[in-house]
């Protein structure tokens, strides 16, 4: 009897786990299929290379692609050194103390703040107070603040996972603390740090609320870090929300998905090459 009951439990668990996995994949495929099916007819080479005309009813989306890349690049370039530096401080330069607990509590809180609040902060602080206006810089810095907690916590996890023996070896070979960090800790933590950066890139590309408030929604081609821009996500939002062109909105959505897929594929390829090289 016991055997039989166990057998049934086993069966139920198996069915449940299969349903969970399949429905996750199903939802993903459904979304991808729908956006791509509606969007791909709008995708031509010109769509990627032309500027929008008539509010986006015609023409392409080149300025929004450039805007998306520029904004994400600024965010990652500012957040990565700060975040990784904080993680190194927490793991290598201080032990568990009131200060480290405060920093960790702070980042956890920051991680839970809705993006619109970051947008409001960015608008008041960067756009108005620092007088940077709606610009790539304002938007990028706002996004940097938004992704900082992710970068800190993934980098900290990565550093935590490094065997303590690596440190001992580095010190016993005459390494200083800083040399140990740059020659042993960071190279070993790089895959984890990189994963955190990828997650952050995904969030930055997809963000709309914070971006509209800080980088504006201009369709002009940006000329400097102080130009206002419109990202692809914002473009999609405005086209759909204002009912300008559902066809072009889906085109933008499809282009966005393909772009994210492309970035992720390249990044994973690079990462695997790096890991293989070391193992």
């Amino acid at each position: 009897m016991v055997y039989r009951a166990r057998y049934i439990t086993q069966g139920i668990a198996k069915v449940f786990i299969w349903i969970a996995a399949l429905s996750t994949i199903g939802v993903m495929i459904l979304i991808l299929f729908q956006v791509l099916a509606e969007g791909i007819p709008a995708l031509h080479l010109r769509f990627f290379l032309d500027s929008p005309k008539n509010m986006g009813r015609e023409g392409g989306i080149l300025p929004t692609i450039i805007g998306t890349f520029a904004l994400t690049a600024v965010a990652v370039l500012f957040a990565t050194p700060l975040g990784v530096g904080t993680a190194i401080f927490l793991r290598e330069y201080t032990r568990e103390s009131r200060i480290s607990r405060m920093i960790r509590f702070g980042t956890d809180c920051l991680a839970g703040v809705p993006s619109i609040i970051f947008g409001l902060f960015g608008f008041v602080f960067f756009v108005i107070y620092l007088n940077m206006g709606w610009s790539i810089l304002s938007g990028g810095l706002t996004l940097a603040a938004m992704i900082l907690p992710t970068i800190i916590s993934t980098a900290e996890e990565a550093i935590k996972g490094i065997p303590p023996s690596y440190r001992e070896v580095s010190y016993s070979l005459g390494g200083t603390k800083w040399q140990t960090v740059t020659h042993t800790i960071l190279p070993s933590a790089l895959p984890g740090i990189f994963t955190g950066i990828l997650l952050s890139v995904g969030r930055s590309i997809g963000e709309t609320a914070a971006v509209i408030l800080t980088a504006g929604s201009s369709l002009m081609m940006p000329t400097s870090l102080f130009s206002p821009i419109r990202t692809m996500s914002v473009h999609f939002y405005i086209l759909a929300r204002e009912g300008i062109s559902i066809k072009m909105a889906y085109g933008t959505g499809a282009a966005l998905i393909l772009l994210v897929l492309f970035v992720n594929t390249v990044a994973n390829w690079l990462l695997n090459r790096y890991i293989r090289h070391r193992a």
């Binding site: 001992e168 580095s170 070979l173 200083t176 040399q179 190279p187 070391r278």
Partner: protein, 216 residues
């Protein structure tokens, strides 16, 4: 203090927070040859070795009393840099600990951090170190493959070679053959017998038999 002793340990005690790991150790270690340290498990052998090159500095909440001298100079003298000290007193741990990089980079790690960057000079140092640890012939054709692909015994000899590349004066070997098969053990013991004419070696051996095979 007579200089036929390379290291002198005087009334040395060591504490992890409130736990006392070493109590009033007095030891005199002669220049060159192998000095073996015995003791039951968890009796503080590793702590003693790590105190000798100040790796214990890395652990929070430790303190010590007494003195350790290297060539008559107190190693805990605040003016002495622990980084320099560790280049003079090399340590090999009880499990093989190659860093996740190529054999060449493992060997070059210490010399590079010490400021040797010239490729030719590095190659010389590396070949010499690997030859001293009797590993050269096995790895000379694959210096640029990952050190993690070597066998356990080869990895441990790489760790010895890596320390030798720094040309230290004292070698601390913490049970270097634990977890190795008899053949690897034999080749490491052979390496030790060759090294003891040039280095002061402090060894925590696997067994009394091992001590009698290699120590003085």
């Amino acid at each position: 203090m007579p200089l036929e002793y390379k290291m002198v340990i005087k009334d040395f005690s060591f504490y992890y927070q409130s736990f006392q790991a070493l109590r009033n150790i007095d030891l005199k270690i002669s220049t060159k040859g192998i000095f073996a340290i015995f003791g039951p498990a968890r009796s503080g052998k590793t702590t003693l070795l790590k105190s000798l090159n100040r790796l214990t500095d890395l652990i929070f909440g430790t303190k010590h009393t007494g003195n350790i001298f290297l060539d008559g100079a107190d190693i805990y003298n605040p003016q002495l840099s622990p980084t320099q000290l560790r280049r003079r007193i090399g340590m090999v741990f009880d499990l093989p600990t190659p860093l996740p990089m190529s054999i060449f980079d493992n060997m070059a790690y210490g010399p590079k951090l010490g400021g040797t960057t010239q490729k030719r000079r590095l190659s010389e140092i590396i070949e010499k170190g690997l030859r001293s640890a009797v590993l050269w012939d096995e790895v000379k054709d694959r210096l640029h493959t990952s050190a993690l692909r070597l066998s356990g015994g080869q990895q441990q000899r790489l760790c010895i070679a890596r320390i030798l590349a720094l040309e230290p004066e004292v070698l601390l070997l913490d049970n270097p053959c634990s977890g190795l098969d008899p053949i690897s053990t034999a080749s490491i013991e052979e390496t030790l017998r060759q090294l003891k004419n040039e280095y002061t070696i402090i060894l925590v051996p696997n067994s009394i038999q091992q001590a009698s095979r290699v120590a003085d």
